[in-house]
């Protein structure tokens, strides 16, 4: 009996500790949410006070924020760029990885190492020259940036698809080829379905990266098209004072799509993160 009670006490204590930490983790988001409903001059004065009748501003911050940043258009561009870049990366790099793994020669081996090498190079190394190259080729548009993301994302994606393909037996593919399938048919009907778990991992890792990416789209298309991070940073502007109300409202609006995405695909996200970390 004593053993059981002791265990229960320990368990309750553990719950209390974990709940306290969880509240601590959620508190910053809650503070932002709360402040988004306060008048903009009350935010810096008393950031931790709940809105009351004199500080409550209704949806005023949201309206001014939406107007100042063009948030809906930013949301649209973020969605457009993320979705099409992720599709391009998953489609083209899985094909490339299959070719590299199945056609073994010095050139494909070299290609593989070049792709892997690109993963360790920080963005700042190519920041200026890439912006220049892409500009010269007129890729500084929402369509062009998809090609740039395909290029930047190919290192990790080729690496992950190749890693998985090395463990896939070649017999099924050979059988399909003997039955008269062309390489394209074999890839889409036989190989790609096998790659699905890796494709989900790659898609999730790249979606998180591209959705939140600030510097690349800012340098390439930022003056004409704003994505969500650019719209948020835009509120800071030059040296003038920041409209804290609009800022709070835009932070809330930026977090909502992420939370919705997270809660609806949580299982895949967490699996993808673990798989991606182990291989990357």
């Amino acid at each position: 009996m004593r053993g059981i009670t002791k265990q229960n006490v320990g368990r309750t204590l553990l719950y209390i500790i974990l709940t306290a930490i969880a509240i601590g983790f959620l508190a910053p988001v809650f503070v932002v949410l709360m402040n988004s409903f306060k008048g903009k001059f009350f935010i810096t004065e008393e950031p931790f006070a709940l809105p009351n009748s004199s500080t409550f501003a209704g949806l005023e911050n949201y309206l001014s924020g939406l107007q100042k940043t063009g948030f809906f258009s930013a949301f649209g561009w973020s969605l457009f760029i993320t979705v099409f870049s992720v599709i391009a990366i998953v489609l083209f790099t899985s094909m490339t990885a299959w070719y590299i793994v199945r056609v073994k020669n010095r050139f494909t081996k070299f290609l593989y190492y070049v792709f892997v090498f690109s993963m360790v190079v920080p963005f700042q190394m190519v920041m200026f020259t890439m912006t220049k190259t892409a500009g010269d080729l007129h890729l500084d548009t929402p369509w062009g940036i998809i090609l740039i993301y395909l290029g930047f994302g190919s290192g990790l994606a080729v690496f992950m698809f190749s890693g998985f393909l090395k463990s896939v037996p070649i017999e099924v593919e050979e059988a399909a080829m003997i039955d008269g399938c062309t390489p394209l048919q074999t890839f889409f009907m036989v190989v790609f379905p096998i790659l699905k778990p890796t494709a989900i991992t790659v898609a999730i890792l790249d979606a998180m990266w591209i959705w939140n990416d600030y510097l690349l789209p800012y340098l390439l298309i930022g003056s004409d098209y704003k994505t969500i991070p650019i719209a948020v940073q835009y509120l800071r502007g030059g040296y003038g004072s920041v409209d804290m109300g609009a800022m709070m409202a835009m932070l809330v609006l930026s977090i909502i799509p992420i939370v919705v995405f997270y809660l609806s695909c949580q299982k895949y996200i967490i699996k993808g993160i673990v798989a991606g970390a182990v291989k990357g």
Partner: protein, 278 residues
């Protein structure tokens, strides 16, 4: 095999995008670091002059030192807290998934948004002593550490949980039967067996901290007077904030790349060695 002829279909699209986004800019970047230029076409060879300027630039050295300090402190705090949370969440509690969901959530929020969230919170706290985060570099430093912890603890925790769950339970039971106390079990059984996870987490936290940009830009933007600018931000400022210094910016970027590549190769070496031993 028939596949070989299909190079233009299977490889070319990826390869072209890769060369435009990475290959050409990378080689051009190395070349330009030895030249003085403002628009690339006007590049004049200056040999190592940019590198000499970079290493005698107080902002760059300050950013390097700030980045190293920040990386050391964040890597230690993030990994200890994440490991502790992971061991608490592998004790078979019913609400484990709920806690895991909450702790991981900040990781999905982008760096710019994270920076402004914490700017509000930290300024709110500092208001009690009448200052803001940009008053002193130490506030910016610890602000970044707290922000980074909030963002990465959940991520590392998930990797540690996966590592701990891979340990066969009979090993821990055996060590209990043999009379080991909790600390001994942790030190002699758990930690050696989650070593692969520890290596991964150390690597991820080191590279993520070292390359930090968005959070730095949003939280302090380097203020006061560039004292809290990390390497990535300093390189950005050199390129776009100082006309005529593009070559120096590129040289700084090459140095930055070499440091990050060295960290990565040391890491790969360690992982590889460990795999051989197993």
């Amino acid at each position: 095999m028939a596949l070989k002829k299909y190079f233009p279909v299977f490889v070319l699209p990826t390869l072209i995008a890769f060369l435009i986004a990475f290959g050409v800019p990378f080689i051009l970047g190395i070349f330009l670091s030895f030249t003085e230029f403002t628009t690339v076409v006007d590049a004049k060879w200056v040999a190592f002059e940019n590198y000499i300027k970079a290493f005698s630039n107080a902002d760059f050295l300050n950013a390097l030192w700030f980045t190293v300090k920040f990386t050391v402190v964040s890597v230690i705090t993030i990994n200890i807290i994440a490991f502790a949370l992971a061991s608490l969440l592998t004790k078979g509690l019913k609400a484990t998934n709920l806690f895991r969901t909450v702790f991981f959530m900040p990781n999905l929020i982008g760096g710019i948004v994270l920076g402004y969230i914490w700017q509000l919170i930290i300024n709110g706290v500092l208001q009690t002593i009448g200052v803001t985060i940009t008053y002193d570099a130490k506030y910016g430093f610890w602000g970044l550490v707290v922000l980074m912890n909030w963002q990465l603890i959940g991520y590392m925790m998930i990797i540690y949980i996966a590592g701990i769950q891979n340990i066969p339970t009979d090993l821990q039971d055996a060590s209990k039967v043999d009379g080991a106390n909790r600390w001994q079990t942790l030190k002699n059984v758990t930690i050696p067996l989650v070593m692969p996870s520890i290596t991964i987490c150390l690597f991820l936290t080191i590279t993520n901290s070292f390359k930090l940009f968005d959070q730095n830009l949003a939280l302090t933007a380097g203020a006061p007077s560039k004292q809290t600018a990390m390497l990535a931000l300093d390189i950005y400022n050199t390129f776009y904030g100082r006309i005529g210094w593009e070559g120096v910016g590129q040289a700084k970027a090459v140095i930055f790349f070499i440091i990050v590549a060295l960290i990565s190769f040391i890491q790969l070496g360690i992982t590889h060695k460990r795999e051989v031993e197993q």
